[in-house]
Symmetry: C2
Subunit: 192 residues, 2 copies
DNA sequence: TTGGCGCGATAACAATTGTTAAGAAATACG
DNA sequence: CGTATTTCTTAACAATTGTTATCGCGCCAA
């Protein structure tokens, strides 16, 4: 299982760190849209931090592209599980927009982890927040129908709907692009 | 958000502990079926460990009973979030079968936590496993339709289907009892 | 500039699911 | 035991979603 390491309010790569002290451990890269950063079934070697742009993680479900999560500026992306176990990732990481990323290798990240005081506590809090995030997503699916889930996403994460192509959002909501298009149409009609 | 403290392979209340040392901190109770142990909107004061029977956590979604998770023998049940924050629980905890439970108060649990070496690491691992559990449930919803989810549950957790009333399972799968009944019928017909 | 391609809208039809209601079957309990 | 209650099934119809296909628009690169 692939788990994202970071939340929008992430300290991992940002505020609490003096980046001048770690600059030699991190590489900045620019990638065009639709660049694969981690291929499904390969072992995760790097973690990424988004300076500009957006990424998604997705997997191939019997030939169908299923998007699992979206990431934007100031978020970190990686596969904790693949880091922990050295097992092949069950997901791919791919850029949606042209993006500017910070790249840190597994070993360098571990180095930083040791040097940053209170990291363990932060990590626990972070995993706890992830837990809340996924349990919330699960709840959204058992208590809401697709239209309600779309409206919830629109209310809570409008930036996703604004920046991400619709067919990715459809699979994230667990429906087809055609159905999402219809729902949008219906919602628009009901507003008038 | 309510989070379960325990997994089937749970050390919290069991194997690694010498229960004779803690017996004064824990109370054993017997409850009939449909007993509410924690009421939605109340603050969680106790954690439970199931010696015999089964529990569920659920919430009221606009008048509809939505079951979030099931628990069986040797599992612990509580609301970490309510423990942590002292905030009202967003869920109810209720017995499904007549059950024999161990009850431990929040303060006594905290006492034990301090006395048990390596508890922090265990807690982190536990939360991590919960994270995997919920991300898996979320995945199941975006990649599978209701029938596939039912078959997955049947394959991975047959004990749930055997012991839990069907209408609870239906809400857990995010569908109506009527639809679940049809799916079961269809699956049975396809087997022949 | 322009052809190709990604993306979204729409249509028509099939399949599934929801809703409501009624009744049968199983279970609980005095 | 028998009665109540809970649980499950089935039916009929409405609503939603999936499937397949077509069309048009905008963007990007040759």
């Amino acid at each position: 299982m692939c788990i994202m390491t970071n939340q929008p309010t992430n300290k991992f790569f940002t505020s609490d760190l003096n980046w001048d002290d770690y600059r030699h451990l991190v590489k900045e890269i620019n990638v065009p849209a639709k660049t694969t950063l981690l291929q499904e079934s390969e072992v995760s070697k790097n973690a990424y931090f988004i300076k500009k742009g957006c990424l998604r993680i997705w997997f191939n479900n019997n030939g169908k592209d299923v998007t699992f999560q979206f990431f934007f500026e100031n978020q970190g992306v990686s596969s904790i599980e693949s880091f922990k176990s050295g097992q092949p990732s069950l997901f791919s990481i791919e850029s949606i927009e042209p993006s500017t990323l910070l790249v840190i290798s597994k070993s360098n990240l571990e180095l930083m982890v040791k040097e940053i005081p209170g990291y363990q506590a932060f990590m626990q809090e972070h995993i706890f927040q992830r837990l809340n995030h996924y349990s919330k997503l699960f709840l959204s699916h058992i208590k809401n129908n697709p239209q309600e889930r779309y409206l919830e996403l629109l209310a809570e994460s409008p930036h996703i709907i604004q920046r991400v192509p619709q067919h990715y959002i459809a699979s994230y909501l667990g429906i087809t692009p055609v159905s999402l298009s219809r729902i949008r149409n219906k919602v628009l009609a009901e507003k008038k």
